[in-house]
């Protein structure tokens, strides 16, 4: 378990370069580390600190604030069942109990085979499609207990492996700014003038 790989270091430097201050890249790099290892390791946090100019304690201070960062292994699939009002009004608590029974684990824990972690999540912005859940941040809408059983079957058999990447990967598309098109980030301390287009004339 590990510091960032060579490929990820390259990616990390590209990300850092987009911000006027390197420390702004802390959260994106924590995501990168979690994508690499499935959770955020101490070694990765030290490494991120070196890259952005922070201590490992500062990086951990930031990381530990955010729900999505895990500091010990979780299942390959993280099921987050929403428990906030709109979902609760339409059976989210029943769904959670059903999931606990079906998986034989309590909310907040992982199945013995390390496949599935079950958590209650807060409002996931799909309130009209209640009750909803996410598997590794991919939505499932208006989920019935039968839907949930089928989902768990599919996750266990590997039928959804192509659609849902293992825990750690969130977006599978990255921004990439072409060298000849990017303006480039500037430290605010080095900026003394307003932008060129504020000269009182049309830009085109």
């Amino acid at each position: 378990m590990a510091r960032l790989s060579e490929d990820n270091i390259r990616l990390a430097r590209e990300i850092i370069g987009r911000y006027p201050k390197p420390r702004s890249a802390t959260i994106p790099l924590l995501h990168l580390a979690q994508e690499q290892d499935g959770f955020v390791t101490n070694e990765a946090m030290s490494h991120i600190g070196e890259l952005v100019g922070a201590t490992s304690a500062e990086v951990y201070g930031t990381a530990s604030f955010y729900e999505m960062f895990k500091f010990e292994p979780v299942g390959k699939f993280l099921i987050n069942i929403c428990g906030t009002m709109s979902c609760a009004l339409l059976g989210a608590e029943e769904l959670m109990h059903h999931a606990e029974g079906r998986l034989g684990i309590k909310m907040g824990s992982t199945t013995a085979d390390g496949k599935i972690t079950l958590e209650r999540a807060e409002c996931q912005a799909a309130c009209t499609e209640a009750p909803c859940l996410q598997v590794n941040y991919r939505y499932r809408y208006r989920v019935t207990p039968q839907d949930l059983d089928a989902l768990i079957d599919d996750l266990s058999s590997g039928a959804l492996d192509a659609e849902i990447p293992a825990h750690g990967t969130v977006a599978t598309v990255r921004q990439s700014i072409p060298a000849d098109r990017g303006v480039g980030a500037v430290d605010p301390d080095d900026v003394t003038e307003g932008p060129a287009w504020l000269d009182g004339k049309a830009a085109l």
Partner: protein, 465 residues
């Protein structure tokens, strides 16, 4: 399975109304540059760049584009709060949609990312903002993917980056994503998070990051939907925009109605005139309460908002009327409870949310929110005591001193206490933990009392059956 007119836009219903921000939702490929360009995409940008920046700013001011994130502050005025001669200025896009009940910005990012990008470009041009950070909620994988792909296309085609459309206007838009924290939707917490810190709101004053924001520089923080209005506005002009809706609430707005209605959905509604009755009972909207049940209560503006009952159904979507009636429009999120709803448990799902999401910076919220949750939990479980209900009000008053807003109620002989409230915290998370408790206990006290006198143990069933 999901609802909606189109499978690719879950929950969204079209309706026979003007569509400013959802005009491309019918296309399955609405998120591509090709479709965007084929449907007037980037024409608003071209119009903007053909005019001096101050003209564009004036156009937005004249249209009174109210902020769609919750506070409803006019965007054009917000841009004007930046101090003169302080450079650089930044744009931070708030795509951290997480207020309970709110579902609109995610759809706008997933279905029409180029519209948002064009909005960012117009805002940055008008207000002289030299870099844009587009902060998307961490849990929204598809929105991140769609915006990333759209940005890559837009850079390659010359719409973003150096010398946009061959002009002297240059702007980088950096896609940034969060990692799960509701409070980061508060604009100063968003900035803290973007600086690589724990997402805790900053002490105020300054009240607006327009004065001191990202890296201590003037920073405009705008909501996704607010910015998504700009391409249409620039193309059609402020008079066309203000011709829709009312003088104080022009244009349209995105509203999500969820809970116990026959047809929960996301709608682009006409601002200012549409009433809650239209939304809950109208044929083109939610088509009534499910199973023919009666309406018990509804949350009019996101989990933070004090509750309304059927007495308030005829209020329009207009801040100047909803405020005096004791609540707020917030982020366009209505949650509906029918007559079967277990009110104490429904309130608990919201209070638990805010207690859980407290960042811990302000003691009244950190401690108060937690105690509200614990006491309410105890009452819901049938283990409450007579003292608990008064205790809930006492704890609430330590977060929000004085009279807390609530709606009028004819049956209970209650007169409304107008919005807003006083607060002992930096941001609205603490008061929001109290709002559902206060509303539920004020409007439905007998349900709490029954829980205590009967010491009723509650079996595990849906909150509304």
């Amino acid at each position: 399975m999901s609802g909606g007119t189109w499978k690719h836009a879950p929950g969204f219903y079209e309706g026979d109304r003007p569509r400013i921000v959802t005009s491309r939702f019918e296309y399955e490929d609405s998120f591509t540059l090709e479709r965007y360009l084929a449907t007037d995409g980037y024409k608003g940008l071209r119009t903007a760049l053909g005019r001096p920046a101050t003209d564009v700013h004036d156009e937005v001011k004249n249209a009174t584009v109210l902020g769609r994130g919750g506070a409803g502050f006019p965007a054009g005025n917000k841009w004007g709060l930046t101090p003169q001669g302080v450079w650089p200025r930044y744009l931070v896009v708030n795509g951290d949609e997480s207020e309970p009940g709110t579902y609109k910005d995610r759809l706008l990012m997933e279905r029409d990312p180029h519209q948002l990008i064009e909005g960012c470009l117009i805002a940055s041009y008008a207000a002289g903002l030299s870099q844009c950070f587009l902060y998307i909620r961490g849990e929204m994988a598809l929105a991140q993917e769609r915006v990333a792909a759209a940005l890559n296309e837009a850079y390659a085609a010359g719409y973003v980056g150096k010398n946009i459309l061959g002009s002297k206007f240059s702007l980088d838009i950096v896609l940034h994503w969060g990692a799960g924290a509701y409070v980061v939707g508060e604009e100063t917490a968003l900035i803290e998070s973007l600086e690589g810190n724990r997402g805790m709101p900053r002490l105020k004053p300054p009240y607006f990051p327009a004065a001191i924001g990202l890296y201590g520089q003037p920073t405009i923080v705008n909501n996704v939907e607010t910015l998504a209005n700009l391409p249409w506005l620039l193309q059609n002009g402020a008079p066309a925009y203000t011709a829709i809706g009312t003088a104080t609430s022009p244009g349209t707005r995105m509203v999500a109605v969820s809970g116990h209605v026959n047809r929960p959905g996301v709608f682009e509604i006409i601002n200012g005139t549409t009433t809650f009755r239209d939304l809950l009972y109208g044929d083109e909207f939610c088509q009534g309460i499910r199973n023919g049940n009666d309406l018990k209560a509804f949350v009019p503006g996101g989990g933070s908002a004090p509750w309304f009952t059927p007495d308030q159904l005829d209020l329009p979507f207009e801040a100047s009327q909803v405020g005096p009636a004791g609540s707020m429009l917030g982020s366009g999120a209505i949650m509906v409870m029918d007559s079967t709803t277990d009110i104490p448990r429904a309130a608990l799902t919201l209070t638990r949310f805010y207690a859980h999401e407290s960042c811990g910076k302000c003691t009244p919220c950190r401690e108060g929110g937690t105690w509200l949750e614990r006491i309410l939990s105890r009452v819901v479980d049938g283990k409450g005591t007579d003292a608990d209900l008064d205790q809930l009000f006492e704890v609430g008053e330590s977060i929000c001193p004085g009279a807390f807003p609530h709606a009028s109620n004819e049956k209970l002989g209650l007169a409304a206490v107008p919005f807003p409230y006083r607060m002992n915290t930096i941001c609205f998370v603490g008061p929001s933990a109290y709002a559902p408790v206060h509303s539920a206990l004020t409007l439905f006290r007998s349900e709490f009392e029954a829980r205590i006198t009967k010491r009723k143990l509650i079996s595990v069933t849906a909150v509304g059956q």
